[in-house]
């Protein structure tokens, strides 16, 4: 059972943008897709670049700005290499104006 940790407020995450939060030592990116919050590892599995910082969001995918790996933000799967390993995904929710990530 995921324990939810408040990392900030929901208005910190705009539609079509991603923002990184540190939760229990994990770097977790939160994005908003069609109004829905999604949370995933901020660290690209290819060369450990940060995804939220500069990652390009299109629909439910995010492209790493370093070497172009594209991940599905909801499932974590690789849509395009060079990465071959998926990124972890996390539960995320809004509790009032609190942004909470499940770890």
């Amino acid at each position: 059972m995921a324990e939810f940790v408040t990392v900030g407020t929901t208005d910190e995450v705009a539609e079509g943008e991603a923002k990184a939060f540190s939760v229990n030592g994990e770097e977790v990116a939160v994005a908003r897709v069609d109004g829905e919050l999604v949370a995933f590892s901020d660290i690209c599995t290819h060369r450990a670049c940060n995804l939220a910082n500069g990652g390009e969001i299109e629909g439910t995918s995010i492209a790493c700005e370093c070497h172009g790996s594209v991940f599905d933000m909801k499932t974590g799967v690789v849509i395009e290499g060079p990465a071959t390993e998926p990124i972890a995904t996390f539960a995320v929710r809004a509790e009032g104006s609190d942004l909470q990530i499940g770890v």
Partner: protein, 410 residues
Amino acid sequence: MLGERPFVIVGASLAGATAAATLRDEGFDGRVVLIGAEDLPPYERPALSKEFLRGEQPLEASYVRPPEWYADHEVETRFATHVVQIDPRDREVVLAGGERMPYERLLIATGSRNRRLEAPGADLPGVFDVRYARDTERIREALAGGARVVCVGMGFIGAEVAASLRRLGHDVTVVEIFETALFRILGAEVGRSLEAIHRDEGVQMRFNDTVARFEGGGRLERVVTTGGIEIDADVAVVGIGTEPAVELMAGTGLDQGDGIPVGPSLATSVPGVFAAGDVARHEHPVFGSIRVEHFDNAMKMGQAAAQNMLGGTRVFDDPHWFWSDQYDSQIQMAGFAPTWDRMVVRGSLAERSFCAFLLDNAGVLRSTVSVDWKRDVRRSFKLIQGEVAPDPAALADPDVDLRTLVPAAD
């Protein structure tokens, strides 16, 4: 099953291995044979001049797929195997030794090979180039204990090798025929920005000069330039460009020196035969005839070629994109502009943090290049693909989101 004509991929390269993986991803359950000249599973080459050269990463980290992936997905591999010819009439490839292998569809992904420097002494021990993993391994052995290095050519390979070897503490001198770093691809202004990065890192650079000869008694001791300079050196790394590996196409008319011609969908004029990656001279819907020697292209072309081998009709219209990591800096480039009329810069060339937009004489954005300014290269893809002529003032303004400059679809 035996007797079935397989889909054959020649070139256990990034393009070739990606094509094999795509065939399976697309649900193809027929025979797939992947033939490669090297005695290694397909690996990615970017690390050969960077992480693998610096000893930060084993080669295994660069494998396109884990070695067991191929058997697990019933992809038959024939490594350490050379294909010498294709026979389009009987639809067979001919292997060194004479074995013939039939094909149903054929993908040529043989890549390119390094251009040789025609200079006396180029065959001396201590003179290297970088193409294969074993090349990098040999360079690393030769560097042991500290070495004076000359990089011949300051294109991407030369610049990355220089950066990696400076990071390892070696003395590095570059000899480059043009007036600055990466001149042919990026032009003088962007090139000088990169030149400055290398100078700050302690690389000696000699421009407008080239190697007259390599000298040494039994192994490399010095490099003598046509400008008359003598540079003491233990190791030289030559990176002066590549040529496509087209020999196996002899007799088909497709063994052209500038690459195997393929149409927009990566099919050659020979029925059932496709080409992808460095070896392909592609009729691109935006850029025209183009041959690209970069990672992303090899991967994406391999994927598109596989889809089209299965009967797809996908036009490969990728805007082309690549990166180069040097020291703590990253260069990115998208599009294709062999020449341009105007360069618009957002950011600062002098501070080496910028994105430069290359416009043709109609103001159409043809290419984008950045140094430590990553975001906007990817954001320019749609402008390049759409052949958009954006307002130069908007391009120059870092506060303008490039995505807002894409005209709305009608």
